[in-house]
Amino acid sequence: MTSIEAIGSRSRISATAAVRAYLVVCGIVLLLMMLLGLTMRLAQAQWIDVEPNLFYVIMTMHGAGMVGIAGLGGAAVMWHFVRRYIPVSTGIFIANLVFFLIGAVLILGAGFIGGFAGAWTFLYPLPDHSGGLWSANGAAAYMAGLLVIGVGFLLLHLDIARGIISVYGGLGSGLGVKQAFGFAPEKDGPPPAVAASTMAAISNIIGIVVGAVVLVLSLVNLYVPSFTFNTLVAKNLIYYFGHTFINVTIYMAVIAVYEILPVYTHRAWKTNRAFYLAWVLSTLMVLTVYPHHLLMDFAMPTWILVAGQIISWLSGLPVLLVTAFGTLTNVYRSGLKWDAAAGLVFIGVAGWAIGVIPAIADGTIPVNSVMHNTQWVPGHFHTYLLLGMMAMMLGFMTYLAGPKSPSRLAPLGVWLYLIGGTIFVLAFLAAGSASVPRRYAVHLPAWLPYDRAGSIGASLVVAGALILIVRFLVSLRSPIDATP
């Protein structure tokens, strides 16, 4: 081994160790947050007793925790693969995890000690109007936690952007803009992992700095209540940040599809002009999609609403279409041998595609004014987050665990996850079309059947995820393979 190779393999070992550390945190937090979710479902089903005050604490923690680890898991997938094409800093990657853990401690403290229950979206000025349920310090700890986590992600995305620029010259080339518009041959385009990472960097850098502004303003408002600001502007900024952040998690996780499926099918992922064009369009739209959260706000100017509606129909679609189509062509007649990892990644694409349909329905103004505060909404985002994004992340975990680790149980885990998840989200969607409101701790007797079906589905999901995650944790006993 030459010394250069030795350095290379050492840095590969530390990088893989860092990715493992990410996934350990993700796996454990995911299980805990799923148990919180199950607790809520059981409480709504009236199978267990949970104080309404505690319900809202749990709901806040579940939302914040899930969104946080979706980001963290997406980052792990993205970083692991994009590292093959651009120089990135392992130090910054680890720093992000450290920031995340500090932030998570602050947020958990805010919820379970400080009693903060203002929902993960901390809509201004709610944090300052707790009606005595939580203290200013509780709300402040929550927002400071988000801020710390934001710092970590901002550094990570900036570092990746720097790596992309150092290789491709600019973010535009990293996204494949030249290929998209036919100025350069398709074969010279960036690999899919780079295009996706570029989009994630652009969207999240802007989203996070916008979020940081509202967080700082809200924090000042907590301690100097006479200092106020425009609530509609605050709402816009918060949703801009929240929506972008959660959207980007799937664009990071989808890299697992681009990189893992070809390993199974022995076919490279085809990047053609349509592929690049799709990423360019989706980048533009993610940046402008947020107004659809405000469809109910008649105070918003009409043209923003109309633009928001059109864009929200279309935003994720380009990337989704090229990915779904690419997945099918990649898999079709490839003679691939299905296993847990390939299955999960495939489920991820399907879950994402199906999860977008209710979103499109929800994006229509007449439907939105009726449905937006029903369980239709958790139905939609649980479909693409639980069955889409998280399935891709679990697929990545299973892939990393490798075929050597005990895998007889893995297919069972996948089936439990798929079947349970389907029942769980269908229960939400059905309840939503029966106008069951979201964010209610106590449900009417007429709503209980939905809640009970949902609880059963959720229990299966938890069992499936438990199998997959434990299998991953067990696989960690084997040393890291230093060969590329």
């Binding site: 301690y223 100097v224 006479s226 200092f227």
Partner: protein, 194 residues
């Protein structure tokens, strides 16, 4: 980390946080109004014995109120908007603090040298202000006016259209004739009777 980094960082942090803490009265205020509010609450300021003339043409001074709390606002009688709000507020507050509450008085001071006794009278009539419970008054001379504006910390700047920009703040003067409290900007007293 290099030698000298930690001390330098510490120094910058201490000086920086110290300076910001000083400028914001311990991270409580960001405006000069806020700063005055805090400092007055801590050290009430005695009011110089300026002579004023009220809507009925009587002269008086702050000393005459000894033992009573006075709510003071600063107005000008041509004021199109803000002073109307202030006037309504005083009228409502007055109707709530009944005769028993005789130890509370109201005082609207005009800072516009163009105002005369007649203008004061018209303004008082508009809000049914009766001396001595509610005096609408102006200082006898320009020197008295600038002394009052300075003591209360009122900034008045021309609005460029012949009127004035002022902030419509309400002040409370305590029994021993000192400016003791500045209400929040925009705060009104009718909601909270003394």
């Amino acid at each position: 980390m290099t030698r000298g980094f930690a001390p330098l960082l510490g120094l910058v942090l201490c000086v920086g946080v110290g300076a910001l803490a000083w400028a914001t009265e311990g991270f409580r205020v960001i405006t000069s109004e806020g700063a005055r509010q805090v400092s007055i609450a801590r050290h009430p300021i005695p009011i110089p014995n300026v002579r004023l003339i009220d809507q009925d043409g009587h002269t008086f001074s702050f000393g005459d109120y000894h033992g009573r709390t006075i709510f003071v606002d600063f107005i000008y009688t041509r004021c199109p908007k803000l002073c109307g709000e202030l006037g309504d507020d005083f009228r409502q507050a007055l109707s709530r603090s009944d005769a028993k509450n005789g130890h509370v008085a109201f005082l609207s001071i005009s800072f516009d040298r163009a105002d005369d006794r007649e203008a004061l009278q018209l303004y008082a009539d508009r809000y049914a202000a009766r001396a001595p419970r509610w005096r609408v008054a102006m200082p006898y001379d320009a020197r008295g006016l600038s002394m009052l504006l300075q003591t209360f910390g009122v900034t008045v700047i021309p609005d460029g259209m012949g009127g004035f920009v002022h902030d419509g703040t309400i002040y409370a003067v305590d029994e021993s004739g000192r400016v003791a409290r500045i209400l929040d900007p925009g705060a009104r007293i009718a909601a909270v009777p003394p």
